[in-house]
Symmetry: C2
DNA sequence: GCACTAATGCGACTCGAGTTGCAATACCGG
DNA sequence: CCGGTATTGCAACTCGAGTCGCATTAGTGC
């Protein structure tokens, strides 16, 4: 979706790559300084030293900018810390994830993609893929805990991760209640308690998706 | 925020009320048919048989339209069903809430306010107030359960409600995973299990909000 | 009813997002 | 180094969101 060059030859050469980097960096800065509501193609183009037509042609508009900037900025080789108890590792993960959204540089971009998902199909896919990726990696916290006997076997590891993260994002972006560190601790304790009670044990998942 | 008439006299007379109703209905229909991304003041104004200047003056723009339309459309005397067990009542509540967001008529408006909250302070306050109100009412499910001995005393009733709803909204609007009825059941079971484990028992809530 | 004024209608205007056709530039393979 | 083509720059254009001043209409209090 970033660029749709179906013509015979693609040209990922120096200038193209330089422009992408310049535009993505400009988008990140614009988002950090002015926010998603004020993000405009022209400002980004000018800041990146690129003509706005180029941005429209390669990214299609603000949605594409936001999506590509996220993929440009995220840390691809992140792994959760597995050195403590389940509770400690989950709390650590929750804090890191929350910080990523509150961070002055990259936070606005994360938020912007979530916001863009309300208006753009590409953004929906990007957000979905982002969470699938992060949840998949964080799942090792749970599988390790299962191996250590901290949680019952057959526990759906991704379900536990989601149970930890859902209240945090809900407070942040839906109910707009704000998130304290105590909320993180409560989310972790609730998820672990539910897992120990067998709620997340893999059972036949009936009921079709809507 | 709907109208800012600080001049000496307000005039909530017949025409004003009629126009508000027409505009709000038009907004609901536009949202249902075209969605939030395509919502425009001009379309709403034309549909309502009102000049666009009037809409801009009284509502300020699309954000105001969305916010006021929600307040126009929500059912003010809703009360949760308390006839079953905690699990049954919570599951019933979760289904009703989910239906409200998936409903063809009012659902798009709920979604639109959540989306608008990413761009407008008024929308943030509206969403915040909406959830505070709904959570407050649904809390009677928990207080009743405490009286019946189904849950430990000292349980923070709103925390339980939020624990039920958070995963649902998270899947709907953040991770974009879709929601099945099995997910609702799991959310209810997790919240109840956590409450029974004492996770939501009112304790000194340290950690400041961010 | 009648005066007074809030609320609305109306048209013209500004301004910025997004598009298009064409010229200039820079990468790529030889 | 050189020709071919993808990519970009450029300028002019369209189109719709939002604003402003003024005329008109319709509540409100008497």
């Amino acid at each position: 979706m970033c660029a749709e060059q179906q013509p015979g030859q693609v040209r990922p050469g120096g200038r193209t790559a330089r422009n992408r980097e310049a535009v993505c960096r400009a988008t990140l800065l614009e988002l950090a300084e002015r926010g998603y509501a004020a993000l405009t193609v022209e400002n980004v183009a000018e800041r990146a030293g690129v003509h706005k037509t180029t941005v429209y042609r390669r990214w299609g508009g603000v949605h594409g900018l936001v999506v590509d900037s996220l993929q440009f900025a995220i840390d691809d080789d992140w792994q959760p810390d597995l050195s403590g108890t389940v509770e400690e590792n989950l709390l650590d993960h929750a804090r890191v994830a929350l910080d990523a959204f509150l961070d002055a540089e990259i936070g606005p971009t994360h938020t912007a993609v979530v916001a863009a998902a309300f208006q753009s199909t590409e953004a929906i896919e990007a957000v979905h893929a982002f969470f699938a990726d992060r949840f998949g990696r964080a799942a090792s916290i749970i599988t390790t805990a299962i191996e250590n006997g901290e949680l019952p076997p057959e526990t759906d590891s991704i379900a536990v991760i989601r149970a930890v993260m859902a209240p945090i994002y809900f407070r942040l972006f839906i109910s707009r209640e704000g998130v304290s560190d105590g909320d993180l601790q409560q989310a972790v304790q609730a998820a672990v308690a539910s897992a120990r009670a067998g709620v997340f044990s893999s059972f036949d998942q009936d009921g079709e998706r809507s």
